[in-house]
Symmetry: C2
């Protein structure tokens, strides 16, 4: 008899009972928190609870006699294994003949039937698409019920951790100044109110921080802004006495996180309302739009003004970021030394190496948390885009090949992100060729000088050029923005090359910081990524405009054991030597151990 | 007493009489033919006739008691001079406080008043904007009257020159094959009819050519395409016996050029209609849309399918283009030799130098016409974007400084475009620095290797980089497409860097050809532009995608007298030496004169 996963089957039985009680024919469970955060807390893992699949992308749809889970190509094998015996069918997204969820529902739902989902975990664009499709077949939906709440009896609590206040000195700009800038933008757009749902934007604006999302120092929150009020919706328990005193002092009115919907149902709009469709969940959007219709005002969909303001770091932020990056660079340099001197001598796995690095970072004064789970991937594992070493599956790091380590942390004074691929033993000439080209790409982009007005699409080929020249590409962007004591990924700018019709691009502006991370990934063999963070700084200004250039924030040696000059142009050699000279000068004062100092000198020698 | 231009004043009196007769309160005269061609024939110079201003951009608006002419910053001084004593006011476009034409009309026209213009010389987007504005103030318009016709008694005739047929062998693809491709696209778009107004597209599709627009080998024409008919509207007198026989043979139905509007008023649409808003004049658009409304079908605004098809040159075209570019390059090389050996010895002006070059080109077998009026600009004149040397104003070319020559021709087998800046005497070190950077930019872009999917915005900084590095930019695009025995400027691709939200970009595809023309323009001092034409060719194809690269079509020496190695990176020196080696090898066999041969060897020497 085939294996049956009775745990999951029982859960689905209970879900279906609940659905019947609520008059819901199909129930949909995607993968998101209420704010479309990069990481979802356990509280939100409803889909995993009801089908067993725990990948980072998947949507489960359940009806009386059907259960199907949609996921993408990264997870077909994992999903099949994890859902064995559950009776849940796997729908392979983007495969020929496989319907999308909205196609499936359009075809299978009958007139008068009801689709249910928690409208807080569905994006507005997906919600609107479903609304349109359901209207065509005269089906309807219920979006205000989270059915898991009753069925999932041992559900983890909604994350709820103490918030804290950052001083104006640390932020470089007070909440009041920032709010005044936001209100100017609201006026410019002809709006009188603004609903802000994006957590890092709310944190940036209020100079508050929280701890409700893994690796993102943010509190679950919403903000409602008018020309004379600012209401912050957060869980009451998160508001420490310090936070309360600060809010009272600066004029932030506090309401409970769960009151937002009720509040919006009662609010009186005195003019058009600004919101950002990309970052507003469907329930909030629907509540807003009903209210706006009632009040005869318009909902204006614009990028949150805070997004661009947050991306352009002020002088204080930049000063602190530069310092923090030097400390973080010095620590990573010490880690590289540790790996190189210990590999083959002590037991070392991808996992233990990552633990070692995380522990070293935690010793840096002002350390708050990792900015993302450290990626530590040995040899062929480094070629896998979504490889994650756990304690159990981690490969042993031997004195052969390379270890790719992508890591970073948030400190008082900044959030870091850096990747080095460390030679731990013999490597082939092919690897040296790939490594050298990757380094040349990183350095070429890092040395870019350009006119204000350029976007990442203009600059991306500088990083890819040396790889394209040897018939290689990498299937990811070259660069993303990074927050200030905030999320390690932020917009609106990026460094990518592909053209997408009508996709907005953000111009690179002085004060922005962005990653510069080309790579080579050869399946079954090796993976290389070299990532520095660079800042956009002003150069000459003349009648042609304002020239800008990129300037490194990261100062960690490039592994010369993997560099072969024969693959470099003379000016690329110069870029590398110049960079290494700067690494040595800036990092040396931060390193105490004499052995590491001696090694650093050698590791940054002129070639 | 102030000077009065009685000639213009009398013309305006007659125009106003005509306006009164027709019940027109305001009459508007822009600068365009019926097809928005780059060059307008004398027949279309109505604005110039009624106000005296003959610049390339201007719109005249006349009412009973007002006459105003709108033009841009290039022409403020010229317009003021030319319109002196005419009573016509100058409206300086884009200057603070100056209304646009539609703002002016919105403010000054009264309810019930009528705006008149020839709807064939107004673009659809301008027409629609005016329509909306006039509706708001309850004014209306008449678009089917060309009032100049009656008033301008000695008006030049509409251009009307013999058309001719290109063989399928010369075109590489028959009209029938091309038509079949167009019909496939029409089907893809769900349309049953397609109105084509763009002259070079019509010529490309039919393998016909004409001579109605200066430097563009095109006939004034429209094409109406359905799934079983192809109607070509051309002036009857242009249809030679050869053209008639060809059309009969391939199934092109001929109607008179002037019958289009009447035809469209009678036509029966059997489905949606494809048209390209950018290239359809307002009268045609209005006729089409009324008819579509009547028939209950939709007008679908899409880029003409012919635009992209035309841009991707087929193997025959590429083969012929390569040959033609070599011949053209050899002739320009001979010209450079002539300039260098004769300057300071014989009388030479910008104008006579251009005449010399034009005459030399005309000797190349297969020469048809210049592809644009040759630009010949000496020293500081070369810094002016719109400088045009005429016989009267041309500067004398002395044995000092540089002569910039931008020129090209259409031959049986291709259309060329090339710019060289020729050293004719002493030049400063600053000029050498600028010249060297310009050459490096041209060569760097010309050596680009990239993945299919790139657009010109990804590549433009390769050309600008060496100039940006020395705080210099140029205020024009880096590259434009070029027709095959057609217009010297064609889309859809280009090489530009600036981001314009929602502006479509065309991906660079194998078979496209594009110019590569960086420059430096220092007002009052010097102007440098170096332009090669390059083709997009396939390189490696692997799991990352199809790699492409650029390859030179132009092989003309770069002036080594203006190159200083101290301003070059080693690989830029290599690019220049490699290019010069190719120039020597390819051009030498085409040159007969022993002195030129000897000079060529020296001019392409390794540095």
């Amino acid at each position: 008899m085939a294996y049956e996963n009775t745990v999951i089957k029982d859960r689905l039985v209970k879900l279906r009972e609940k659905m019947a009680q609520e008059g819901i024919d199909y129930y949909m469970m995607p993968t998101s928190d209420f704010h479309n955060s990069e990481y979802s807390a356990d509280f939100f893992k409803v889909r995993e609870y009801f089908c067993g699949f725990d990948g980072s992308n998947g949507t489960l749809v359940v009806s009386k006699d059907f259960a199907g889970m949609w996921t993408d190509g990264r997870y077909f094998i994992q999903a099949e294994n994890q859902m064995k015996g559950t009776g849940v069918d796997l729908y392979k997204m983007m495969e020929p003949g496989v319907p999308t969820i909205s196609e499936f529902l359009s075809k299978n739902m009958k007139e008068g039937e009801v689709l249910g989902f928690d409208g807080r975990v569905i994006s507005t664009s997906i919600g609107l698409d479903l609304e349109e499709k359901l209207a065509k077949i005269k089906a309807s939906f219920k979006i205000d019920k989270d059915l898991a709440d009753d069925v999932w009896t041992d559900r983890p609590a909604l994350p709820c951790h103490d918030m804290y206040v950052l001083s104006d000195e640390l932020c470089g700009k007070s909440y009041k100044e920032k709010l005044s800038d936001v209100r100017k933008k609201m006026e410019e757009y002809g709006t009188k109110a603004h609903l802000l749902s994006k957590l890092d934007d709310i944190m940036w604006l209020t100079n508050l921080r929280g701890n409700d999302v893994e690796c993102n120092p943010v509190a679950l929150s919403y903000a409602y802004i008018t020309m004379d009020e600012f209401i912050l919706f957060v869980q009451e328990k998160e508001v420490t006495a310090e936070v309360k005193a600060y809010c009272d002092k600066v004029g932030i009115e506090l309401k409970d996180y769960h009151e937002l919907t009720a509040f919006l149902k009662d609010v009186k709009f005195e003019g058009d309302v600004l919101y950002d469709k990309r970052n507003t969940n469907f329930l909030t959007f629907k509540t807003l739009s009903e209210k706006a219709k009632e009040a005869g005002v318009e909902l204006k969909n614009k990028d949150n003004p805070t997004e661009l303001m947050k991306a352009i770091k002020n002088d204080t932020e930049i000063k602190n970021i530069r310092e923090v990056y030097l400390k973080d660079s010095a620590k990573l340099t010490e880690f590289i030394y540790w790996v190189k001197t210990n590999v083959g001598k002590i037991p070392m796995t991808e996992y233990t190496a990552a633990m070692k690095l995380d522990g070293m970072r935690a010793q840096i004064p002002g350390f708050i948390e990792l900015s993302f789970p450290t990626i530590s991937a040995y040899n062929a594992n480094a070629a896998m885009a979504h490889y994650e070493a756990t304690e159990d599956n981690a490969a042993e790091v031997k004195a052969q090949g390379m270890l790719l380590v992508d890591s970073g942390a948030t400190y008082m004074g900044g959030t870091t992100d850096v990747t080095r691929t460390i030679v731990v033993g013999e490597i082939s000439d092919e690897i040296k060729k790939h490594y050298t080209a990757t380094v040349c790409g990183m350095l070429q982009l890092g040395a870019a000088k350009f006119l204000e007005g350029c976007t990442g699409r203009n600059l991306d080929p500088l990083a890819r050029g040396p790889l394209w020249d040897i018939d290689i590409d990498y299937n990811h962007g070259t660069g993303h923005g990074i927050g200030y004591m905030l999320n390690v990924h932020e917009g609106p700018h990026s460094i990518r090359w592909r053209y997408t019709p009508n996709a907005p691009e953000a111009v690179l502006e002085p004060g922005m910081i962005v990653s510069d991370e080309p790579g080579v990934y050869i399946e079954g063999s090796h993976g290389i990524r070299i990532e520095n963070i660079v800042e956009v700084v002003k150069d000459t200004k003349n009648s042609y405009g304002q020239f800008l250039r990129l300037q490194h924030l990261t100062y960690v040696p490039i592994d010369l054991e993997a560099i072969d000059k024969k693959y470099m142009k003379p000016e690329q050699v110069k870029l590398l030597n110049d960079y290494h000279k700067a690494v040595y000068e800036r990092i040396l004062p931060l390193i105490e151990d004499e052995d590491v100092k001696a090694w650093l000198k050698e590791a940054t020698r002129e070639i």
